[in-house]
């Protein structure tokens, strides 16, 4: 658990690009097996459909297509932000990545090795490498265990002795900014929201993982506490040489912490790219609408018209073709006929979006470098306004 040593090597590189040194992985991390260019996690074609049962014998009458053909990579040392609204599948995705629920299709490759496959990692080994920080809630910590024991549970489940577990717990409590002698024997109900969240982080770090999935980790906290926890996370990332997957619905927070951002809509990836590219030059109409829905802190800068009407639809019966076409002002015939492909990802600076307007061969009248020339058509038959807000 040594701080980044090789940072000096890439400092010049970092400064030259004008970007911080945080997104590079230094050589010398003993647990690194795949090398610098191997993505920490590669996700291919991930699918998860939840069956809806009904009828006389609990037959499967439909499915909730929570995650549908999702592919992306997480590079070593980066923070990948995942944004989306309710129903987009990001929580399901988090649990799929953690192997907490079984997937229906697709591959998950950690540092070049499959999980639970012949020559890959076992699930138990994966657990030592990848951990999750849950949203702060009354149920994120066992109310009957002192926080020390909650943190030590992971190491002890992997064979550490009681004393070792306690030592790890106390060290981690200090690292997350809680005095172990004051807080170690406290129960969760004796802690504030921010303190509980720090304990959550400590628990996730107890197994010394290389990657953390933060599922709405700061969403339930007050803004001033959120700031404290984010600072702490940033410090821990540097100190423990971690890779983060940061899932949130809060666009501002994601912009602040992420190196690259992935936008999800209704179980699919609609856009992925470096954070500045997404926030300054978003390509997908949904991403743009989402960014325009942000409220500014300037009272003179009020939004007069909602950028997007309707609601995030239900993933039970997604529309054919492009799932966003129901609310998209640029929808045309081709959008209902074919699902747009997101394109091929090359490296960390690739900026891809799944939209027919970006594909010259798609047949969309606005296809070209940027969809500036197409006027939005609210009366487009492909928008099917009867779906608006329907469940």
């Amino acid at each position: 658990m040594k701080p980044t040593e090789g940072a000096a090597v890439t400092a010049a590189e970092g400064l030259a690009r004008g970007r911080p040194k945080l997104d590079t992985v230094p050589p010398g991390d003993a647990r690194d097996r795949g090398g610098k260019n191997q993505p920490m996690l590669a996700v291919n074609g991930l699918k998860k459909h939840f069956p809806i049962r009904g009828g006389l014998f609990n037959r499967r009458i439909g499915s909730v297509r929570a995650v549908d053909d999702v592919s992306f990579v997480v590079l070593k040392g980066e923070t990948l932000g995942i944004v989306g609204e309710s129903g987009c599948g990001k929580s399901t995705l988090a649990r799929l990545l953690m192997h907490l629920i079984p997937r229906d299709a697709g591959e998950l490759i950690f540092d070049g090795e499959g999980v639970e496959e012949a020559h890959g990692l076992t699930l138990r080994e994966l657990r030592r490498n990848m951990q999750m920080v849950f949203q702060d809630s009354s149920s994120s910590l066992n109310p009957r265990l002192p926080v020390e024991d909650s943190i030590a549970y992971g190491p002890r489940a992997h064979g550490a002795s009681r004393a070792q577990g306690k030592k790890i717990a106390r060290e981690l409590l200090e690292k997350v900014g809680l005095d172990p002698s004051l807080f170690g024997s406290r129960y969760p109900h004796e802690l504030s929201g921010g303190q509980k969240q720090r304990v959550n982080v400590a628990r996730a770090l107890a197994l010394n993982p290389r990657m953390l999935i933060l599922d709405e980790a700061v969403s339930a906290l007050d803004k001033s506490i959120e700031a404290q926890v984010l600072n702490q996370l940033r410090y821990l990332k540097r100190h423990f040489n971690l890779t983060y997957v940061f899932i949130s619905h809060d666009l501002n927070v994601v912009q602040y912490v992420s190196d690259r951002v992935l936008v999800m809509y209704l179980g699919q990836v609609v856009e992925i790219g470096p954070v500045e590219a997404i926030y300054d030059r978003a390509k997908h109409p949904y991403t743009r609408a989402l960014l325009n829905s942000r409220l500014s802190m300037n009272p003179d800068d009020r939004v007069d018209e909602a950028p997007l009407t309707g609601e995030p639809p239900n993933p039970v019966n997604p529309p054919s073709g492009c799932r966003f076409r129901i609310r998209c002002p640029f929808a045309q015939e081709v959008c209902a006929a074919r699902t747009p492909a997101i394109g091929n990802w090359i490296d960390r600076s690739s900026h891809l979006a799944a939209c027919h307007m970006l594909d010259a061969a798609s047949g969309h009248s606005g296809a070209g470098p940027l969809p500036a020339g197409v006027a939005p058509n609210p009366a487009s038959p492909w928008r099917q306004t009867s779906h608006e807000g329907a469940r």
């Binding site: 803004k223 001033s224 600072n231 501002n252 912009q255 300037n298 009272p299 609601e311």
Partner: protein
């Protein structure tokens, strides 16, 4: 319900609250949720009460309608809404006032709407109760209201049950229910916190539009400063049961003069913030309302605190004509440059 004398210079404030204090008394401890809140609100104005959890904002809101549990909550101070002295009303008079003069919308529409009645029935019931018209007329009114809040396919939605609607539509239905008897004051307790960003902005725009059209006063409780920036005319910042800063939205956001407001603005993550800069945080956490520190309740976390701050509670200090701050150092703070939050 004695009418109060009017002021011929400016319109009489719609809401006047003086020294409101709310204590929750249990055998184990006394929680001082609200400690001396005073403010006034003009008719047709939007006042946002901003605070974090434990600041007393929701309790203040519920006190305005006396929605707090009778036995556990002790209210003191005076509350006037329109022509009604809320503290003096009997139970029957209170039920007359609720819904017709003052209405409220909540954070979770699923718990605020009755799941076994259709939307139309619920709205019609309120209308019949307060205006005494026939059920048919009330249903027509319900339809008009659903159109007013821009619910698509309103005829069909009249017959829908709450669980058949999505979150944003339920919120709109709740707004329709709240507006059914044309209240002069609408109380909103974080109605958009649980909504997605794209839905939140629709609901906020809707509220603002309705408020202007109907000339209603709105008191909107939120923890999100950007929500206040979007819809508020005036803002009250609450901390540990007291209002620490009160003023117009531009004054408070652009020229904050209480260390807590300054700290909140500095630690809010928003668009223009530099990614590498560490966020300035307000150290520590909000005080436990059972054991409030003496003097200024923010002093333990305040970087400008001095020993005199713990001696007595600071009184409101006027900074500008309509801008007050409860801090001994208020004028000194406004003279220093406010953090540039508009990047």
């Amino acid at each position: 319900m004695t009418p109060a004398p009017g002021n011929d210079k400016a319109p009489r404030p719609l809401v006047e609250v003086q020294d409101l204090a709310v204590k929750f008394v249990t055998r184990e401890a006394t929680v001082r949720a609200v400690n001396g809140v005073s403010f006034a609100m003009a008719p047709g104005e939007v006042l946002c009460i901003i605070g974090e959890s434990g600041s007393g904002k929701s309790v203040t809101l519920r006190a305005l309608m006396r929605l707090l549990p009778k036995r556990r909550a002790q209210l003191s101070g005076s509350i006037r809404v329109g022509d009604h002295d809320i503290q003096a009303l009997t139970e029957r008079q209170l039920t007359e006032v609720r819904g017709s003069t003052v209405s409220m919308i909540f954070q979770e529409p699923m718990t605020a709407l009755d799941p076994v009645y259709t939307i139309g029935d619920q709205i019609a019931e309120t209308v019949v109760r307060h205006e005494g018209c026939s059920h048919r007329a009330a249903m027509k009114r319900a339809l008009d209201l659903l159109r007013l809040v821009k619910i698509p396919l309103p005829e069909r939605r009249l017959k829908a049950y709450p669980h058949e609607l999505s979150g944003g539509l339920r919120q709109r239905a709740m707004i329709a229910l709240a507006l059914s008897c044309r209240p002069s004051l609408l109380l909103a307790d974080e109605p958009t916190t649980a909504l997605d960003a794209t839905v939140q902005i629709q609901v906020l725009i809707l509220l603002r539009r309705l408020q202007k059209e109907l000339g209603m006063g709105v008191i909107f409780v939120t923890h999100d400063l950007s929500v206040a920036a979007q819809i508020a005319d005036r803002v009250a910042v609450m901390y540990a049961g007291r209002i620490v800063e009160l003023g117009s939205i531009r004054d408070v956001l652009l020229r904050p003069s209480h260390p807590y407001t300054v700290g909140m603005l500095a630690s809010t993550i928003h668009g223009g913030r530099l990614r590498e800069a560490e966020i300035e945080v307000i150290p520590g956490s909000p005080p436990d309302l059972r054991w409030l520190p003496p003097g200024c309740s923010f002093a333990p976390r305040c970087r400008h605190a001095e020993p005199e701050c713990t001696l007595s509670v600071p009184l409101p200090t006027g900074i500008a004509p309509d801008h007050m701050s409860c801090c001994f150092k208020a004028d000194r703070l406004t003279r220093t440059k406010a953090p540039n939050i508009i990047a």
